[in-house]
Structures are given as C-alpha cells and as structure tokens.
Symmetry: C2
Subunit: 331 residues, 2 copies
Amino acid sequence: MKAIRFDGSLRFAVDVPVPRREGEALVQVLCAGICKTDLEIVKGYAGFRGTLGHEFVGLVVESPDEALIGRRVVGEINVGCNRCELCLSGDSRHCTGRTVLGIKGRDGAFAEFLSLPPRNLIEVPDEISDEEAIFTEPIAAACQILDQISISPSSRVVVIGDGKLAQLIIRVLAQTSCNLTLIGKHRRKLELASVAVRHLFQIRDRAEPASILKQVGGEKFDVVVEASGSPSGLPLAISLVRPRGTIILKSTHHATTPVAMSPVVVDEISIIGSRCGRFHRALALLASKAIDVRDLISERIRLDQGLHAFDRAAEPTALKVILEASGENFC
Amino acid sequence: MKAIRFDGSLRFAVDVPVPRREGEALVQVLCAGICKTDLEIVKGYAGFRGTLGHEFVGLVVESPDEALIGRRVVGEINVGCNRCELCLSGDSRHCTGRTVLGIKGRDGAFAEFLSLPPRNLIEVPDEISDEEAIFTEPIAAACQILDQISISPSSRVVVIGDGKLAQLIIRVLAQTSCNLTLIGKHRRKLELASVAVRHLFQIRDRAEPASILKQVGGEKFDVVVEASGSPSGLPLAISLVRPRGTIILKSTHHATTPVAMSPVVVDEISIIGSRCGRFHRALALLASKAIDVRDLISERIRLDQGLHAFDRAAEPTALKVILEASGENFC
C-alpha cells in the first residue's frame, strides 16, 4: 500500500505491507491531518521510524469485534499493554509499555490502511463530516486542559500561539466563558481566532517578554497556555503568569529550552504538562457544532503528494493540511 | 552599627545606620544563619543591594506594639503593602509591592539590628534555643511543600540534594511516613540524613540522569523535590518522576537552566515552585523536638568575621554557618 514513511528522511512509499496485527482492527484511512508533532518528528523529535500520522478518520474493514466492520471511526492513539495498573484503570495514555500511532512503535495514519485495537476505535456520529472528524484528536488534547485545572468565567487566561492547536484550544476554552486573550505572530491566524477571543495581540519576532507583557496591558494572567511550539514560549509564559498562577505546557518540540527557573520558585508557579485527552468530549463538541473547525483547513492534498503536503504544512501561514488517502476516498 | 553588606561586592561595615522604619519594630539580632540564597545573591541572584541575611532570632528593643518589647522573636521575611487583595487575605508572601528581608528592598539580619513590622514578628517558645530558632524560616519553607501537595505514607518521594535546605525537607517529609529517598553528592551529609531517610544514594559529579535512575532502582517516583541548588537538578528531576507525577522546585539560583521540556508535556508532569511557608508550623515542630536541627550547624562565627563566614558557608562540605551578632550576644 501507499504510505508516508520517515526513516531519517521523509519518503513516499508504494510497497508498504498492509499493517495487520493480531487481535486488532484494520482501518481504511479516509483522510488524515498533518500535526505539528509530525513536523517535529521529521526534525528528530521522539526518534520515531515508520509510517507517520495520528489524526485520521477511516472505515473499519476487518475487526475481531464484528460490530465495528463498516463503521466510520476515529481512534485513540495510545495503545497500552492492557495489563498494567494504568491500563486496567482505563488510562493507557501513560502506560510505560504503550505504543502510539505514528509516534512510538506503531505505524500511523498517513497510509491507505492502519491497525488499532477495537477498544481504541470510536464511531463518528453522522453530524460530523470526515474533514471535521480529523480534528477529534487535537480537540481532545485541547479539552484535556479542562480535565487538569479549573477555569471559571472570572479566570484571566492567555494562550500563546496562533497555530492549529492554539486555534482549537481557544475554541475549547471559550466554552468556559473565561476572560480569554490570544498572543500570536500571524495577522491572518489572529483574525481566524476572533470567533472565540476578544483580546488579540500580534507580537513581533524576537520581542522581549517584558515588552509583550506591556503590550497586553501589563496585568499578569491566572492561566497561561503555551501552545506556540517554540522554545521561546516557556520563558514568555513565565513572564505572563501571576504569582501562584498556572502554566499549561502544550507544545512538544525537539529543542532544549534555556529557562531561568528562579521566578517559578519565587512566585510559586505551577507548570503542568498536558497531552492527550478523551475523544468523547471532543466528538460531542463537534457533533453539537459548538466548535467549528472548517475555517482551520488550509488545503487538501493527495497522499501520493505527501512530501509536498509536509512542505506546505511547515509554512508559517499554514493551518491544517489534510492528506487524502487515495484518489477514490476524498474527504 | 556593624553589618555585612553587598553592593556588588561583599564587605563588612561598621558605620551602617541603625535601620528604623516608621511603624516598625527594632530588633536586636542575637544570631543569624547563612542560607544558600545569600550565597546566590553574592553571585548576582535577585539584584539585591544592602545588608544581607533573612534567617535570624532577636530581641525586640523598640516597637509600636509595646507588648513585643523584650520578647525573643523570629520574623516572617516578606513585608507586603498591607493594602492589596493578597495582603488583606493574610498572604503577603506574593504581594507584588513586597520587600523581603535581606533579599529585596529591605536591609537584612547580618547586622546588630534590623527593622520589621510588628505583624511579622513571632515570639519564640522557651523550649527552642537561639540556634534552633534560626532554622524557623527554612523549616517553614520545607513545610510549604505539605501545604501545596498531598503526600501520604504510600507516596514514593525522592529529594535531590543533601545541603542545608534538603536536610530540613527530609526531616519535615519524614513526618508523613512516606517512602523517602535522598540523592546527594557528599557522604557525610548523606549520613546526617539517615536520621530521617532509609534510602540514601551518593551520586557522582556529572552522572547522567539515566544512570542515576538505574542506581536508585529504576522505578520512578510520585514526587521529586529538587533542592540541590544546581542547574542540573531540574533535568534530573524530570528523569526521576513518574508520568503524571509532581516535581517540587525548591532551589533558587542565578543560572539559566537548559531543559528539554517535551517529557514534561508527554508525561503530563506538574512542576510546582515552592518558597516561603508559615512560621507557626515550623515553631511547633522545633518546640516539640519532632525535628532536631542541632547536627546541622557547621560553625558559629562572629559578625565581624562575616566575610570569612561566607567563605566557610560556600565550602561543599558546609552546613549551617551561624553569625553571632556581637561579642556579647552568643547563641
């Protein structure tokens, strides 16, 4: 089958075996989204080798659980050992023996077919289109913030970053009616965010944290969500958060960040890493149209033009680039 | 009066005016302790200029609250504006307009006299000696951890560092009966810690985090307390904490730390800065002899030998060096 593989360099392959794993379902990929993590893996993050991709919607073509066959599904990307304490408590996201679709020890979704256990697959309600369904995984990741900390209508929250994940985070956080600010570098992306955010600030490249704090009004925030994907995001977050405030770290990147940690100690700041979330909440937001993602799609490109799609996704102005699995399966 | 001042370089002065502030009490310092923060200030941390020192015990000689006069006291080091929301709620420790004794905008305790508002002063019970009372402030800082997170007898906790603060932290954490491990570099200091900790590991200079994890048994910890005062402490803490675990950051230092933050995101780790605590809890631990600090005193040196005392306190094998305020006021 066709697939986008990474083995130290990115390549499009046509001779990849269909991935059948014992006890798992085979899913025909309808379409898939390129995420910042995919771009980071190509730069060396996570040391992954294999078929990339973890945001997808597909049709189940084989499954030990026959009720799934023919269903249109999205899939939880973490596959736990199903034996350890974490897995048995229903959270395989932190199982130390886990594989992760297209990220760790398991071929991913930029292919005609992928394999996942039936327990990872969730049927997509009819109200959600294929291209909307691709956003289930990153919306779930955005929703995870609300499972980790409490945000109320009186909370002053700032999101750093205006990319794909940041755009979903502000749409999710706006559901709490909190006092929400967005800081980004790209005028067009900031404009897109105006559906969810009243306070938008465009900052210059290499602007100093102190001048950015001044630009946003000088008052520090209860919660800072770092979703810029840039090593400069954390030092900026530390400058923007109030004493005893909380920083949510959403960005993964392959870089080492030089950070002055003393303000974290002196101001007793909490920094909380945040990754994957539960899919059901994300599907409910999409099905009810509480969150509209259609304006976040930059482009749709066929799988066999995958290398070109990666180039496009890496452009600073790009939002979600969708890979269509084959000529027959358009989103 | 005599005082140890820092004005870009450390010096002993004999002509420093007695610090009288309106509405405040004047305290004759009996003795004071040199802390890692003092050593960091001399290296440039916090940009402080003035009389150093914030761990002290003294006698109130003047006070608008006359009931305090003649009392033997310790003092909360943060002096808030007493008007803002934080101050009015009883927590001036994070008041943005605060001064901090010997650290920020306020002359400190390495002097014959210091000034603090009466509300900052707490009488020392007779059961506590002068030299024990000096430990009130750092024990309160150690107790702050228990105000920030929940530690139970089943918690696996590791403290990184075997210095003065780490020694107090393990004595405080041992009160919870948690499963406690200490990692340090100095054999003699590790031996001192054996009063509170069963699992002690001496690590080599520049040992890699992965090899240290192996050395301590390979199993990660629920809670890691970083109290080494070294820029390498945070990367080590990240390597030692389990997914969804907590790192308590206790060290302040003037260095910028290069940190790979992706594991914090992927494993959803919480990093919580932790600074000053409430004095009453610390005084209760000292008065009840639940915590013994006497073996943590390296040396007692007269104030006029203060520069020598700083040299001694900076030696890797040193623990608490106590400054005696004058020839007449021995601890």
